[in-house]
């Protein structure tokens, strides 16, 4: 029997980006808030100090800052005809664990989505007609617009100190930025980062081909910056150990470097770490949350009553907790009914490896930051005419190589044996003069009727709870798009002077062992009506109005950008609605 703790105004499940933002906003409004986090406290001095943060084996290959599959995993299958099997090790995506969540180990690419991304179905059907989209594609409008979110994108960028070059300020197109971006109310808080040789060469080649390259918006800061909370970040030193690693420099925007130093000093906030929420409790009506039950690492079960529940875990675990708590109706792929688990998406990644003459090119690939790089947006979203292409969607294309870490930088030209002296010498002769990376084409992933999440019937976690089951495969739309984008990227590499380019478009079937990104989305999406969404435009559950579900869980489909900027903007947008509307009159903010 769980021991019952004193009531709090609000309980937050998971202390990553969204949990930290919500905790800050709600404590500012005077609420007494507790955050319950599955993983440990993590910080620079103890977990990734400058003396050993740059350990590729430990952090990149052995995932020491992440959730361990032994704690909990997922099962996976390509289609409902297969038996899902557990991921025994991580592959296609990485799941954060501990204070900071994914915000600790990310590369800090801080994008905004395009205005058309938020009204995707209306936009595409208006431009291309009713019959253009595949019948089983279940994309929809978000219920929120770019204009709604712009002030909150701004808030997140100024919290982080994002380094970038604006392309559109209040409708005025500016040289050097991304001319396709939605209008922003003011420039980035800090100028773009400097670029390495490869990134610069890519931008020059892209310009020669008529594109408008822009620096990738970066949460690795170009200069030191003090944010509106009074927290100061340092200047990025291009160490080349960013994603999968903690920043030893305090120069990557994370909850630790932007919010937590202020939040943790507030008398009306506390964090409980190494404590895992096992369910959200409901009253007898089933329509009101009474708090959460959680288990500490010593095995004690506790109940935390609260008036307001903020579900701020990683996307998969948000959906899992909704299903385990009996909130909403599980999605049924046969009938299309039910909202929990529906419209699960990932990211469609592809690349090409390029080899250059080693006597003329030395890219020094190890000089890099997590979000360094030059990109083009000509083939993102609906920035280009799809009418003759046979697919919708797109992505940014960029030279965004983040590192020269040796274990991840073993590309050799085609025809090289996998071992022996020839391999060894090919490695020696190409390390400095090749261009490799996973994410050159970072593209959208539309939602489909047969791609979804539910609870696995066989495999359990260490508490005996069912694992999440992922049923996911790549559809023709994404495969065609990926081939198209990869061709465009390869053309730019050739223009740069590459002597060999090996294209690597995304191929099916979806493979759980092959790292893509950690951008899993959907499963409890936002929308205009409970008939086609789990949460309303303020991220409030349609079923349980004192529950708000944060994060990329809300995305009806995934756009051609990294999601964190949008996740941060949605958190601020939702927090504002809670503080200004909900707290005055607790109940549904949108009437169905």
């Amino acid at each position: 029997m769980a021991r019952r703790l004193p009531r709090k105004d609000a309980v937050i499940i998971g202390l990553g980006w969204t949990g930290s933002i919500l905790a800050h906003e709600l404590t500012q409004a005077g609420l007494d808030v507790v955050a319950i986090e599955r993983g440990p406290w993590r910080d620079t001095a103890s977990d990734f100090p400058i003396s050993y943060a740059q350990d590729e084996l430990r952090y990149r290959l052995q995932h020491q800052l992440f959730l361990q599959p032994a704690q909990t995993s997922v099962t996976f299958r390509n289609n409902a005809g297969q038996t899902a099997l557990p991921a025994r090790n991580w592959g296609a995506f990485m799941l954060g664990n501990g204070v900071g969540g994914g915000g600790l180990h990310w590369n800090a690419e801080t994008f905004r989505f395009l205005p058309s991304d938020f009204v995707l179905r209306s936009h595409l059907t208006q431009r291309y007609g009713d019959k253009f989209l595949p019948e089983d594609m279940t994309i929809q409008d978000w219920g929120v617009t770019f204009a709604d979110l712009e002030p909150h994108y701004d808030e997140f960028e100024y919290l982080c100190g994002t380094s970038g070059t604006a392309g559109n300020v209040n409708g005025q197109i500016l040289e050097g930025g991304n001319p396709f971006e939605g209008p922003r109310s003011r420039p980035y808080p800090t100028p773009a980062q400097k670029q390495g040789y490869g990134h610069t060469l890519f931008a020059e080649a892209a310009k020669q081909l008529g594109y408008k390259p822009y620096p990738q918006p970066s949460g690795n800061l170009s200069q030191s910056y003090t944010n509106p909370l009074g927290v100061t970040l340092g200047q990025c030193t291009f160490c080349g150990f960013c994603e999968w690693f903690g920043c030893a420099n305090n120069s990557k925007a994370t909850p630790q470097t932007t919010i937590l130093p202020v939040l943790l000093r507030k008398p009306n906030f506390e964090a409980r770490t190494e404590s895992e929420v096992t369910r959200i409790n409901l009253d007898r009506s089933g329509k009101w949350a009474t708090g959460v039950t959680y288990v500490t690492s010593s095995g004690e079960e506790l109940e935390q009553p609260a008036d307001l529940v903020l579900l701020c875990a990683f996307q998969l675990f948000n959906v899992q907790l909704l299903l385990l708590s009996g909130i909403g109706t599980p999605y049924d792929p046969q009938t299309g009914n039910g909202q929990i688990g529906r419209n699960f998406t990932h990211q469609t990644m592809s690349s090409a490896v390029a080899f250059f003459d080693k006597d003329k090119y030395n890219f020094n690939p190890f000089i890099a930051s997590g979000a360094i790089g030059m990109c083009i947006d000509e083939f993102n979203g609906d920035n280009f005419d799809h009418s003759q292409l046979g697919f919708v969607g797109g992505g940014y294309i960029g030279q965004v190589r983040t590192n020269g870490r040796p274990l991840e930088s073993m590309a050799v030209p085609s025809g090289t044996p996998a071992w022996g002296l020839k391999w060894k010498h090919a490695l020696r002769d190409n390390y400095l003069s090749s261009m490799t990376l996973g994410g050159a084409c970072h593209a959208s992933f539309q939602s489909y009727r047969d791609v979804y999440l539910d609870l696995d019937p066989t495999y359990k976690d260490r508490f005996g709870r069912p694992l999440m089951r992922l049923t996911i495969d790549l559809h023709d739309n994404e495969l065609k798009m990926s081939a198209f984008l990869t061709d465009k990227y390869a053309e730019i590499l050739k223009q740069m002077g590459a002597k060999e380019v090996i294209k690597q478009p995304r191929k099916g079937p979806y493979d759980i062992t092959d790292y893509q990104t950690s951008h899993l989305c959907g499963g409890a999406i936002m929308g205009e009506s409970p008939d086609n969404s789990a949460i309303n435009r303020y991220l409030q559950s349609w079923d349980v109005p004192n529950l708000f579900v944060q994060g990329a869980t809300a995305f009806p489909q995934n756009a051609g950008y990294n999601p964190t900027g949008t996740v941060g903007a949605l958190a601020f947008w939702s927090a504002k609605a809670i503080v200004l509307q909900y707290l005055k009159n607790p109940g549904p903010l949108v009437h169905a």
Partner: protein, 243 residues
């Protein structure tokens, strides 16, 4: 060696332990950042000498194997002298070898390639089984000689056979073992020397990776120039006294 977990240490003013049981690690953080001196979690550095997991026969096989995967040349030592077998031995003797981080709950059943490996055996158990099967297969084909005693040409024949699934092992998927030992050997060759391979940073020097510097601000604008900084590893910066 058993290291005291830093989260079992005494609380500071900013960090109060939940007193629910002596083993409790769950913490309440309130009133400030919970930083305490001496709470860092440095890597475990491999110490030389002896085998921690392999038997001497297994070690001989692995040393012979890694030296064919990455042979020596006049400029750079091969897999054996770089310590790749020591690296694999220490990895198998540690948490990786015991599959400590992996999801190891059953049922175990074969799946598709896309679903990933589903073996109930730990990496250490897999090596033990595969190495025994490899030696047995070599003895039966090469007149009683184990892998380590074959000529270089014969060793390459066997490795090629494993790679292309032509040289079969009894009770073990030889091709999958080839991929495992190839990956582990490359990792030993190129990982930080604190893990037992990449002796004297030989592999980093060979490819031109200057190691674990943390600041390239002086170099970001120097496009297409050779970085002249000395090669350093986590515990080998000239100004550090560790090791």
């Amino acid at each position: 060696m058993h290291r005291i977990n830093r989260r079992q240490l005494l609380p500071s003013s900013a960090l109060a332990l939940l007193m629910v049981s002596p083993a409790a690690r769950a913490t309440i953080i309130k009133g400030g950042l919970p930083w305490r001196p001496g709470s860092a979690d440095p890597p475990t550095v491999v110490t030389p000498g002896g085998w921690h997991y392999f038997t001497s026969q297994e070690a001989a096989t692995v040393e012979a194997f890694v030296d064919r995967l990455i042979p020596p040349d006049p400029q750079t030592p091969g897999g054996k002298d770089c310590g790749c077998a020591v690296f694999i031995d220490r990895q198998l003797a540690g948490p990786y070898g015991r599959a400590e981080s992996m999801y190891m709950m059953g049922p175990f059943q074969p799946g598709t390639k896309q679903q990933g490996p589903q073996s109930p055996l730990t990496p250490a158990q897999q090596y033990r089984k595969a190495l025994a099967a490899l030696d047995a297969a070599c003895r039966s084909k090469y007149g009683g000689k184990g892998f380590a005693d074959l000529s270089d040409q014969q060793k390459d024949e066997v490795i090629e056979g494993l790679e292309h699934d032509a040289f079969k092992l009894d009770g073990f998927d030889g091709q999958s073992f080839f991929h495992t030992i190839l990956t582990d050997t490359r990792n030993g060759f190129l990982a930080d020397p604190i893990y037992g391979g990449n002796k004297d940073m030989a592999a980093w020097k060979m490819i031109g990776f200057p190691g674990t510097h943390y600041d390239y601000r002086d170099w970001i604008d120097r496009h297409n120039q050779t970085v002249t900084l000395p090669t350093v590893s986590i515990y080998s910066h000239p100004s550090w006294s560790q090791q």
